[in-house]
Symmetry: C2
Subunit: 444 residues, 2 copies
């Protein structure tokens, strides 16, 4: 592409993003009733256009199958791309769920009377424009669309090329729903299709307030490295379960098998198990056999190997502790006790989700206080760390960073606040020279 | 310095930071009473060691005066470095104020019953370790020290070399105060002195959770560009005042003069004034004369120049609208009305603090909703945008970013949350296969 054509395309993307910003300003000033009306209309449109969505999706799937047959794409993509009549009903239900949630915009978070007639309100408001870059799953569009409209944000979508036709239909339904309230609102959601647009998005730090990369660890890390825009995402999920000496061992086996095998590719599936030395002799042979029966390859420390000498175990290397397998492999280690387990997790963990299995509540409390992770669990599978299971409604993503939104992120992640100060002519000099002083009366 | 020596020093810094992390874990588990006891002890120690602090400060000042006399440092530094008996009393008072604030740690922000016996709590917790890099002002140490201890965070301090002796005494008092509760707690605050340590801090993205650069715009931008650690700070403060056609003009002049001249170097002082065309003819000659009497240089648009043809005005260039002067200069423009003013501010502003002067409340509401800034004011000087004036107690810094903490930032900026899930053996597979379903009952 020539330099001139390139520049033109960048201008095109910039114009779309600025359009989203402007339309979002109008969106954010709509009443909650109007924003919810858009969501309910979109849900109805999803169901009414089922045939059209399915037809586009079948065309996308046929193209992808062709690529898979030529070895140009992985079969796993197809499973995520394919939707169905019940899939579309789920999308509509999720959009209606978001419509039913309490309005998060314009909430007064605190009020302080700084002095007579000088009132400071801290009020929730939208971020502005959020860019979501996602892979094949078409249900991402109803999900993030409903969160963005509910919170008054503009949305820049860049979906996977393999879902191009499906995505076009889904985006057109959002445009229709937005237009029922105001014809100019359609710009609030814009969809980019070109792979090169990702780099363009990452440069627009003045007009995009948050980037949400949803995809492989490599892609998420690429975005973290290449963007000056704040990023909401997670690089890796190295989740631990620590089996305390006071654990209910029968329960422990069930939880660990679930946490590893229920969906091994998920970021919240367990990758590492630490076992208290007092119960290792009794517990490990049972656990290893249960995992092996479920098809899990075991890597472990020397003490585990010695205890399970009759079972097939790969010796764990230092690298194993840093690795998110994302498949049916797990690493096991015998530890001296609670404090060693906490230190190990804080050293090797990814601050995503870590769990203690114990009937000793003070031990659980210490673990949950001292382990540095977005989610800390007691006697439950790490697979529960998810926006839907947490009851957040739809999920914009999962964040491993500590600032702003952490863990599974729903509506809250798309909001910030501003301070609104109402006065009647106050100047700072009268306070600086001592002729007036602040009251700082907390009203709310 | 040889490579080996360099590596040693980095190891030294890393060990100090890891020590702060470990001590912070203990600190965060102390009761509110114990954390407040540390603060009250530190306040007493500040007053008891007044002579020692003043002596160290006089030595620092003498060294700096020598450098100034040789042209190696600016005289402005000396003013900020110098403290006094009343300055120390202010430090102690501020530490006691923070001790008196409500405990922000371990607050349950929400509780959801996901299902029988599966309870999810969202609980406030410390960030971990915060690094504050600051220039000469020694009062930064009591201020950020009290915020860090109150919130259970470790603190890495890198102060200006010109305040080295003063800072050493102040840090030693924190160590004494921390040791009264637990001798190992002293590590929670560590002080670095070497300029090269700044680069080392910025590399430690695993062990430092937040960097707060307090200094020149250039320095803050350097940190934003060179750190993978989240940064709390603000690059520039280009604050606007829009004078609406329904403004009280007598009040408007007073506010603008205060906002520009009360402390022109501050980031919250006003740099740009937009005036509604309907009142420009009446208001501008009065405003320009008032500002010029206060020693302010006026740069302005052609319409302003035409109205004030008898007054000395420099024509404003495009660059002026992007420039934070930080001194007695201001740029003035006549605008068509409210919407033009909002668009201008959203285009040129720095999202710090912007103000509307008007007696028309709906116009004020629209301005405050649509202007994209951390603080939006109505009929008050922009100089009020400050942690002390907002009643936040001490201030860790001012943030221009929208994520996490925004505007003047106090205790809230040093906190995050974690999700704590308590179960009794639940696995996800029983929910995925439909044999159980979620209740998602919001308890709090």
């Amino acid at each position: 592409m020539s330099k001139v054509a390139e520049a033109k395309t960048f201008e095109g993307v910039a114009a779309q993003v600025k359009g989203a910003r402007k339309a979002a300003r109008t969106l954010s000033r709509l009443s909650a009733t109007d924003r919810n009306k858009i969501l309910l209309t979109a849900a109805d449109l999803l169901e009414a256009h089922e045939a059209e969505i399915l037809k586009a999706n079948q065309q996308d799937c046929a193209l992808l199958e062709h690529e898979i047959s030529e070895g140009k794409a992985s079969a796993a993509l197809l499973k995520r791309l394919k939707t169905s009549s019940s899939g579309i009903k789920d999308m509509a239900r999720q959009v209606r769920d978001v419509a039913g949630m309490e309005d998060p915009l314009g909430q007064t978070l605190s009020t302080t009377e700084l002095d007579d007639g000088l009132i400071l309100n801290k009020v929730s408001c939208p971020l502005g424009v959020v860019a979501v870059i996602f892979e094949s799953r078409p249900d991402a569009i109803p999900q993030v669309g409903s969160l963005a409209i509910k919170t008054g944000n503009g949305l820049v979508l860049k979906g996977g090329t393999e879902a191009r036709l499906t995505n076009r239909v889904l985006v057109s339904l959002w445009h229709k729903a937005l237009a029922t309230v105001d014809p100019l609102l359609g710009n609030a959601i814009c969809a980019l299709e070109d792979r090169a647009d990702v780099a363009r998005i990452l440069e627009m730090d003045r007009d995009i307030d948050l980037v949400v990369p949803r995809g492989s660890t490599e892609f998420v890390n690429y975005v973290f490295q290449h963007s000056h825009i704040p990023v909401l995402g997670h690089g890796s999920g190295i989740c631990h379960i620590y089996v305390d000496d006071a654990a209910d061992l029968a329960q422990a086996t069930g939880i660990i098998v679930d946490a590893k095998t229920q969906y091994p590719a998920a970021c919240n599936s367990t990758e590492k198990v630490l076992v208290h030395q007092e119960i290792a002799g009794e517990f490990l042979p049972i656990l290893v056999q249960a995992l092996q029966s479920a098809g899990v390859e075991i890597r472990a420390c020397e003490r585990t190997t010695a205890i399970c000498s009759k079972l097939e175990i790969v010796p764990a290397t230092e690298e194993d502790w840093h690795t998110e397998y994302g498949d049916l492999r797990i690493t096991i280690k015998v530890v001296e006790g609670l404090q060693t387990a906490i230190d190990h997790i804080n050293h090797y963990g990814s601050r995503h989700t870590d769990c203690i299995l114990t009937e000793n509540n003070p031990a659980a409390e210490q673990f949950m206080a001292e382990v540095d992770a977005a989610s800390v669990f007691h006697n439950a599978s790490t697979r529960f760390a998810d926006g839907f299971r947490y009851g957040l409604g739809a999920e914009i993503g999962i964040s491993n960073s500590k600032l702003h939104a952490r863990g599974p992120v729903g509506l809250d992640g798309l909001l910030t606040y501003k301070y609104k100060l109402h006065g009647n002519g106050q100047t700072v000099s009268t306070y600086a020279n001592g002729s007036k002083s602040f009251k700082h009366r907390r009203i709310k």
